[in-house]
Every structure is written in structure tokens, then in C-alpha cells.
Amino acid sequence: MTEQTVAVETPAAPPAVAEHVHGEGHEPGGHHTPEEIKREIRVYLYVFASLAVLTALTVWACYGLKMPVHYAIMIALAIACTKGFLVAGFFMHLLTERKLIYSILMLTVFFFAVLLWGPWHHFIDMIGHQ
């Protein structure tokens, strides 16, 4: 159809919502002014520096110091979670992301935890031996 069809205006229709609502500042990437984007770039570079430092730290702590496994797991996990938080929060701008994405991810993290727990718990709670 080459004709533009017009949205039907009806008395009972819900109020028309403004089409382009970018710039409302809530969506990541909604900051369109060059200054705001340049400020973001600076944040990215700080995050990069932190990630580099944390990587060096984790390698030094676990490998350089040849930490025993139990401590190494705790340290490595803690640092990895921090690095992950930085990447997810800033590079993937999850810190300013919409609630819908958050809830899907929280749900996923819950099922991820269940998946990590299940087989392992089975192994440590078996009938008879083990």
C-alpha cells in the first residue's frame, strides 16, 4: 500500500504518547550532547585503568604469590566479580539501563545459580558412600 494510513483517532483511545522521547536522560545513550558523551569517554578510560590494575592484582595474588587453592578461589572470585561489575555496569551501561533488562538479568542470574548448585549438591549429598 503506497498510501500513508493515518492512525485512527478515537475518543476512547489512550492519550497519544510523544514519538521521540530520547533525551529524557533515563536511557543510556540518551545523553546526546557532546559534552556528556565526552564525559562518558573519560569514565570508560578510568574503568579501563581499574580493570588493568585488578587484572595485575589477581595474577600477582594467585600466581605470583602461589596462594593455596582455597584462598585463591575467594580472592580470584572477588576480583573477577568486581571486574565483571565494572564491565557490565559501565561498558554495558547496566547501571543506567531500564528496569525490564534488569529483571530479565536478575531472573537469569537466579537460574544460573540454580544450575551451578544442582549437580554439585547432588554430588555431595549421595546415598551411601561419598
Binding site: A7, V17, Y44, V47, C62, V87, R98, L107, L115, L116
Partner: protein
């Protein structure tokens, strides 16, 4: 955006492809890529779960550095983190309207990714030279499988960025916002690949 019955364009126009839907605040591909990443969390989660079970059940399990090259992998970690920075800088530059710098940073991401893969190649080659194959032990099996699957994801990212750097860049002229969104979405995928490595590296090499 109301879907107009499609006019001169060959393709049907899908609403909210570029501009976000008001109540969700998202455009379609952004929601799509996060859903896909959620499924990837479950994919790698299954592998981590398997590793936890196998390691807990094993009477002995070697420390990562017994067989693996930690310094090389550390370099690879820096390289991959750098590639994450370059891709987010690419997106920032495209939003500033700067195609030249955007493409340069995408090229930087590609370069880092290729360095990562080449280093991985060296690592694998070294293991094969020492006659350590996946079948040698469960440690080697998990190492090869998890880094292999991760490497395939890196390769996938390389293909996507190659496309956006060369043939796909034509879209900058016709639909600038959509091209920028595509880089954002590809960047989200790329950050996820980096995120997996952030957990994979200590798990395999340092523990």
C-alpha cells in the same frame, strides 16, 4: 513509531527498530541482544557447573600454571579488555557523528580480537607439542572445551565487526541512527565475551 503500511521501501517497516518504544524505553535490537546474552549466560553457566562438579569429584586437580602459560594468558586478558574499551569508544564517537574515529576504533577492536586468537593459537599449539590433548585428562578437556567455545564466540564477533567495518558501513549514509545502534548492540555482545573471559581466565589459569 507507527508502522506505516510500507511505501516505496522494499522491506516492511517494523516499529521501534531505531527509536525506543516509550513505555519500555528500548529499541528492539537492544532488548533482543540482552535476551540473547541471557541465554549465553546459561550456556557458559552449564560449562562452569560441569567444571565445578568435575573438579569437586576429582581426587586431584592440577593448579592452572602446571600446564598453562599464565603470562601469555595475562597478556591476552589485557588485550581483550582493551578491545572492550575500543568498541565502547567506537560507539561514543559514532554518537558524536564521527565516522572516521568510529571506524578506527572498530578496527582497533578487530586487531585486539585477532591478537587474542593468535595467542590462543600459540597456546593450543604448545599444548599439542607437549602431547596434551583434550583426551589426556579432565583438566585439559575442560580447558580446551571452555576456551574453545569462548574462542568461537570471539571469532563470531570478529566476523560481525568485519561486516560493520566494511560492507555494513554503507548504512551510515542511509540510516545513521540505526548503524550506531548496531554498533552498540554488537558492542554489548563483545563486552559479554570479555566478561566470560574475566571469569574464565582465573578459573582455568590461576586456581
Amino acid at each position: 513509531m507507527e508502522a506505516h503500511a510500507h511505501g516505496a521501501a522494499h522491506e516492511l517497516e517494523i516499529p521501534y527498530n531505531v527509536h525506543p518504544r516509550p513505555d519500555t524505553g528500548l529499541y528492539n535490537a537492544k532488548l533482543g541482544i540482552w535476551l540473547f546474552l541471557a541465554s549465553e549466560v546459561m550456556l557458559f553457566g552449564a560449562l562452569f557447573s560441569s567444571l565445578i562438579l568435575l573438579r569437586t569429584a576429582a581426587p586431584t586437580w592440577p593448579r592452572g600454571w602446571t600446564f598453562l602459560n599464565v603470562p601469555l594468558a595475562t597478556v591476552n586478558t589485557f588485550v581483550l579488555i582493551a578491545s572492550s574499551v575500543t568498541v565502547v569508544l567506537a560507539w561514543a564517537n559514532l554518537r558524536l557523528g564521527n565516522l572516521k574515529w568510529g571506524r578506527l576504533f572498530i578496527a582497533g577492536t578487530l586487531l585486539c580480537a585477532l591478537i587474542f586468537l593468535v595467542n590462543k593459537g600459540f597456546e593450543y599449539h604448545h599444548e599439542f607439542e607437549m602431547h596434551r590433548y583434550p583426551r589426556t585428562s579432565n583438566f585439559m578437556a575442560t580447558y580446551f572445551t571452555m576456551t574453545g567455545l569462548h574462542g568461537l564466540h570471539v571469532l563470531g564477533g570478529v566476523v560481525v565487526f568485519l561486516y560493520f567495518l566494511f560492507p555494513g558501513a554503507k548504512m551510515w549514509k542511509t540510516d545513521r541512527a540505526r548503524y550506531t545502534n548496531r554498533i552498540e548492540v554488537a558492542g554489548l555482545y563483545w563486552h559479554f565475551v570479555d566478561l566470560v573471559w574475566i571469569f574464565l581466565f582465573p578459573t582455568l589459569y590461576l586456581l
